[in-house]
């Protein structure tokens, strides 16, 4: 926990510096008759962020916060395993949207989670994994006429459009 606290503060400080540098692409000073420049607001906010990271590091040195004075691991075995399985699964779901579209990706993710992580029966898994994308399709594509990404599965949807739209 103690190491994670320091690493995070340093990473966030670096992020703050990046934000400051990025804001400084616009005028951060006073412009006559226009008031503060466009970069001033984010620049000074990022500067405060940097100061807060410094403050957190000072607290870390003095061991005054719970996280900076804890010998517990940032993530134990269970937490790391679940984080990788679930976080990885969600990341894969987002990545799959680019290839098989939203509906294909939902189907794969639900099967992965319910069957393999949750160890439910195939009947439960397939019932939920099939109903969810279908219901989502009728809500978004048909009722809200909001075209969700289909990826390479686009041709499969053409007959459905012909019927419902």
């Amino acid at each position: 926990m103690r190491r994670a606290e320091l690493v995070t503060a340093v990473v966030l400080a670096a992020l703050s510096i990046y934000f400051m540098w990025k804001s400084a692409e616009l005028e951060i000073g006073w412009i006559e008759d226009e008031g503060p420049g466009g970069g001033a607001w984010p620049f000074w906010l990022a500067a405060i962020m940097l100061a807060c990271c410094g403050w957190t590091i000072v607290n870390w040195i003095r061991r005054t916060t719970p996280a900076s004075d804890s010998d517990l691991p940032f993530m134990d075995g269970y937490a790391r395993k679940m984080f990788l399985l679930v976080g990885g699964g969600v990341t894969a779901m987002v990545a799959l949207v680019h290839i098989v579209g939203m509906y294909g990706s939902l189907l794969v993710f639900l099967i992965y989670y319910i069957r393999f992580l949750g160890q439910h029966s195939w009947v439960t898994t397939l019932t939920i994994a099939l109903i969810t994308p279908v219901a989502t399709f009728f809500f978004f594509d048909i009722a809200m006429t909001m075209d969700l990404p289909k990826g390479y599965l686009e041709p499969l949807f053409l007959p459905l459009y012909a019927i419902f739209l």
């Binding site: 006073w30 970069g39 906010l45 962020m49 807060c52 957190t56 987002v94 989670y113 009722a143």
Partner: protein
């Protein structure tokens, strides 16, 4: 009398078939969301906001407010039955609700929670109906100085009263504001903070991307880690006779209910305070003023009544600054406020003049939501207990799916779902290190209002900050805000002096 007429007009809107249907649906969903461990009103409202693009703004807000309300009722169910707060707003309900359930009186606790919620809700809506138009008419005169001072007050509340690590709270506020500045400078129109020169950053980051990331994906990851294994559920014995005798017993707690309702309402009004501190404070006061404080924590009915009346009262209270000043009183109302912007409304006092139908429809729907929530809650207790048994390994993937679709819907951009994923994972990791995340969500909603207010103010005053202190309304607000920001410093100094005195 004018208020009465407006309210009647509001009822006509709230009782239109579509709106009434949405109230009932919202309450049911809210009860369900509130009852699930780890999910509260803020998660429900964030994840389901994109769904409301289907209906007009008035119906949308009525639906979301009903979810908010239902979740306040529902939170008590898992606090009592599982001993895990269904939402942070129901933390205090576990203190006495769980011991009651363990001693075989789960039904007593459930009914006390439902009736107290109804009482708190009713008192607060009456107060709201009376206060809102008055406050809105005062707020109509507010200029840029006053608006910025109010924003400062909202963030100062987090710093002074939030109870979280101070540098981390300030960091969270600032990063939310910086995210709200991405895209282009609203005054000059120049591109600004286009990170890594990705085209996705050349338009503002939608607040829902951050809200769903944190309250959907981040919250789920957090819940999966913290609720290892499945909790054990208490048994509830329900019969008409027992319900009636429980109700009779509840009458004796009316003083606690009145106190908690007023306290909750006023804490709820404070910008950024919300229902969680409201319910904790009400529990504390109920214990302090009780004839026998030692009973608290061991299964005292008043210990369930106080936090439940207060959290419902606070949720109504937090809508007051949202509607009249355009400043949210809680994380959930921050999301509602962001929703109003998406629906094309400008939050603030002018709503009362320009969008009468929206405002009064919402107020009237609160009365309806409160009534339906108590009826559905008590009538369907067995159903909610059954739903509570839904394995988390089915619920969690469904929520991730809703997040994915909900994160895509507002902007229809794949860039945004990646961003949402990064916010979710980053938020989860930061939360493990005690970084509070609600301030960031509030900040991304308020950023686009705060920045122009500050810049216009400085332009008017020619770069001087003095008017923030000298103007009749802005002055006191700014000073209170600064005192709140300095409050932790005072506390720290006091403790050191006291500590030194003790060691000597």
């Amino acid at each position: 009398m004018e208020i009465f007429q407006h309210l009647m007009g509001g009822f006509l809107i709230a009782f239109e078939p579509l709106n009434l249907g949405l109230v009932i649906l919202g309450v049911v969903l809210g009860l369900f969301i509130g009852a699930m461990p780890g999910l509260g009103s803020v998660n429900g409202v964030a994840i389901l906001l994109p769904v409301t693009f289907l209906v007009p703004p008035t119906s949308a807000i009525i639906f979301l407010a009903a979810i908010y309300y239902g979740a306040m009722y529902g939170g008590a169910i898992s606090s009592i039955m599982l001993g895990i707060p269904g939402a942070s707003t129901a933390v205090a309900t576990t203190f006495d609700g769980r011991p009651l359930a363990l001693s075989g009186n789960a039904d007593k606790a459930l009914i006390a929670a439902a009736v107290a919620s109804f009482f708190g809700g009713t008192v607060s809506i009456l107060l709201f109906t009376g206060f809102a138009p008055v406050l809105a008419s005062i707020a109509l005169d507010f200029g840029d100085f006053e608006i910025f001072a109010l924003m400062l007050l909202a963030f100062a509340t987090f710093i002074g009263l939030g109870g979280d690590d101070i540098p981390k709270t300030i960091f969270s506020i600032c990063i939310g504001m910086v995210f709200s500045a991405v895209g282009f400078d609203i005054i000059s129109g120049e591109p600004r903070l286009v990170f890594l020169d990705l085209p996705g950053f050349s338009r503002p980051i939608n607040f829902l991307v951050l809200a769903i990331g944190i309250y959907g994906i981040g919250e789920m990851l957090w819940t999966i880690e913290t609720t290892r294994g499945s909790p054990t559920m208490s048994k509830a014995v329900l019969s008409v006779e027992r319900v009636l005798s429980n109700l009779r017993e509840l009458l004796s707690t009316w003083k606690t209910a009145v106190m908690a309702s007023f306290l909750g309402y006023f804490v709820g009004i404070l910008p950024a305070a919300g229902a969680t501190p409201g319910s904790l404070m009400a529990y504390g006061v109920a214990k302090l003023t009780s004839k026998d404080p030692s009973k608290f924590g061991k299964g005292e009915v008043a210990g369930v009544v106080a936090p439940e009346a207060a959290n419902n009262a606070a949720s109504t209270g937090s809508m007051l600054p949202m509607l009249t000043l355009g400043i949210p009183g809680s994380p959930t109302t921050a999301i509602l406020l962001g929703g109003m912007v998406i629906w094309g409304l400008t939050p603030g006092p002018r709503l009362f003049v320009e969008q009468e139908e929206f405002v009064w429809g919402l107020i009237a729907s609160l009365y309806a939501a409160n009534l339906f929530a108590v009826l559905i809650n008590i009538g369907f207790i067995p159903l909610f207990l059954w739903v509570l048994k839904t394995p988390f390994t089915i619920l969690a993937p469904m929520i991730f799916v809703l997040c994915l679709v909900g994160g895509f819907a507002p902007t229809r951009s794949l860039h945004d779902i990646w961003l949402m994923l990064i916010f979710g994972i980053g938020g989860y990791l930061l939360r493990k290190l005690d970084y509070p995340l609600a301030p960031a969500v509030l900040a991304i909603v308020l950023g686009p209002i705060a920045e122009p207010a500050l810049r216009q103010s400085l332009l008017i005053s020619d770069g001087s900050f003095a008017p923030f202190f000298t103007r009749p309304i802005a002055g006191p607000i700014t000073i209170i805000a600064l005192l709140l920001i300095l409050l932790p410093v005072f506390k720290y100094g006091y403790q050191r002096i006291k500590g030194r005195g003790e060691t000597q």
